[in-house]
Amino acid sequence: MAYNGGPMTEAMYYVLLALMHPNHGYQLMHAITEVSNGRLKMGPGTLYGVLSRMQKDGLISLSEDDGRRKTYQITSEGEHALRTEYSRLKSLIQDGNILEIGDENG
């Protein structure tokens, strides 16, 4: 099942975010922890699964492959998907504002 533009999993979203700077496996795990401000510690199994799936879907590509270590980068398609997801999430937050107003009223 290729990515069809629907809501991303949290893992996909953060991997794409982290790959705005090309990176490879182990360091990528740290980069994800960093961009999520320490909130998300992604396991290697999950990361590897997301990477191979998104590579197949064309959201990311290999920028370098010296045979041992693969460096991934986001593709323009991936960046587009990421930005679409970002606006979707932003709308989600904006629409959720009524909760804050509700709190103020209460």
Partner: protein
């Protein structure tokens, strides 16, 4: 050298959590997983150690070095792989991060396996339906299941069918389990790495034992039949076999052997065959044809040429004898109705059924484990046939 210990695996390969939990418990007892076989896991005996084990699923035969490295960097060492499963381990004190932190993402790793298992189930079920159709035709189309059982020529196919039923059950269970696991993961329920495995251990051991026995039988039975069955030309003289001979019934010194044809050096009109089956370890079948030169059939249709056909079975259990006779009547009764077969009494036989119509004389007799069926075509008295049967049946019952 490290000592390798083999242990029967506790559960079916698709119960991922149970396998992880088992490997962990084994390591705590000093058995460290080295390799997985089809039924046995190989462990290296060492110091007891608190370990964590995780099983990953991929359909790819070869795991990329990148993956192994990525896992290693995080503290997970590759142990071994079997089929679509790879095992990684990490000592507890290393505090490696969990391999899969997102159950929904992990469910994606099961998708290809899920598809493949469903595909296998479809194929196995189609094969199963074919086999069930075929086997029920063999067993029940004639309505003579006891004869089929005793004769034994379909025993091996039946055992193989049972194995295929078992395989169908296993593959269906695998497909359902993986589908359920995937659903749990999608819903955010992670795999239980400490799933209790003891319950399935016992069940699996029993099933594995039975499977081995059944598979072994299916291999031995046809060899038994091959070794013990043979067809030979019936000698003209006396033969120490429980077969009713034409000369004994005819009691005519002028009787000579009839003309026949040869196949593989066997006179097909005058032959005897011995056979073996698990239910009837001693079986004989014979055909004999004779001619009395100069004597004509009553209707003038040619020289008098009587013939006799005998079938002898020594059963393992006498309880089958009555059913076997009923089936023999059904199987070899080409044109007569059941009413033509009349039960008679004989002091030396448990059951005696006769059928006489002009030159055709048929006798079905049993005593204990022995069953004899004789079909005689000629002018001799049917009581002669019966007395010969009584003599012959003594040969195998005494």
């Amino acid at each position: 050298m490290d000592k390798t210990v083999r242990k029967l695996r506790p559960s079916d390969y698709w119960r991922i959590g149970e396998h992880e939990s088992w490997f962990q418990d084994m390591a705590a007892k000093g058995f460290h997983l080295k390799k997985m076989g089809l039924r046995f896991a190989h462990f290296v005996k060492g110091e007891p150690k608190k370990m964590r084990y995780r099983i990953d699923v991929t359909m790819k035969k070869k795991i990329t070095p990148e993956k192994i490295e990525m896992y290693e960097d995080s503290g997970w060492d590759y142990v071994t792989g079997y089929q679509y499963f790879q095992v990684y381990s990490s000592p507890v004190e290393r505090e490696a991060p969990e391999l899969h932190t997102d159950p929904a993402e992990q469910s994606f790793t099961l998708r290809a396996l899920d598809k493949k298992l469903v595909f296998i189930v479809v194929i196995v079920v189609v094969a199963l339906l074919f086999i069930i159709g075929m086997m029920s035709a063999i067993w029940f189309l004639d309505g003579t299941p006891t004869f089929v059982l005793v004769d034994g020529f379909v025993v091996q196919q039946t055992i193989v069918s049972i194995l295929i039923v078992y395989l169908a059950y296993i593959s269906l269970q695998a497909a359902i389990s993986i589908r359920a696991l995937r659903k749990d993961l999608i819903e955010g329920k992670p795999i239980n790495h400490h799933a209790p495995w003891k319950k399935h251990y016992r069940l699996n051991s029993v099933l594995a034992f039975l499977f081995t026995i059944v598979a072994g039988l299916s291999a031995i039975v046809p060899f038994g039949q091959l070794i013990k069955s043979d067809t030979q030309t019936l000698p003209e003289g006396n033969l120490d076999l429980p077969i009713v001979r034409l000369a004994d019934v005819e009691q005519n010194p002028a009787l000579v052997r009839g003309e026949s044809y040869m196949i593989d050096d066997v006179d097909w009109g005058n032959r005897y065959r011995y056979n073996w089956s698990p239910i009837a370890p001693i079986q004989y079948e014979s055909d004999e044809n004779g001619v009395v030169p100069g004597k004509m059939w009553g209707d003038g249709s040619g020289e008098y040429s009587p013939s006799i056909n005998t079938r002898v079975y020594l059963l393992r259990v006498p309880a089958l004898a009555d059913n076997l006779i009923a089936d023999l009547i059904k199987r070899f009764n080409y044109e007569y109705s059941d009413d033509d077969f009349v039960e008679a009494k004989h002091a030396d036989l448990d059951l005696l059924i006769v059928h006489e119509e002009d030159e055709i004389k048929e006798v079905f007799a049993s005593k204990g484990k022995a069953v004899i069926y004789v079909r005689y075509y000629g002018y001799a008295d049917i009581n002669l046939v019966i007395e010969n049967i009584v003599d012959k049946i003594k040969l195998i019952t005494e």
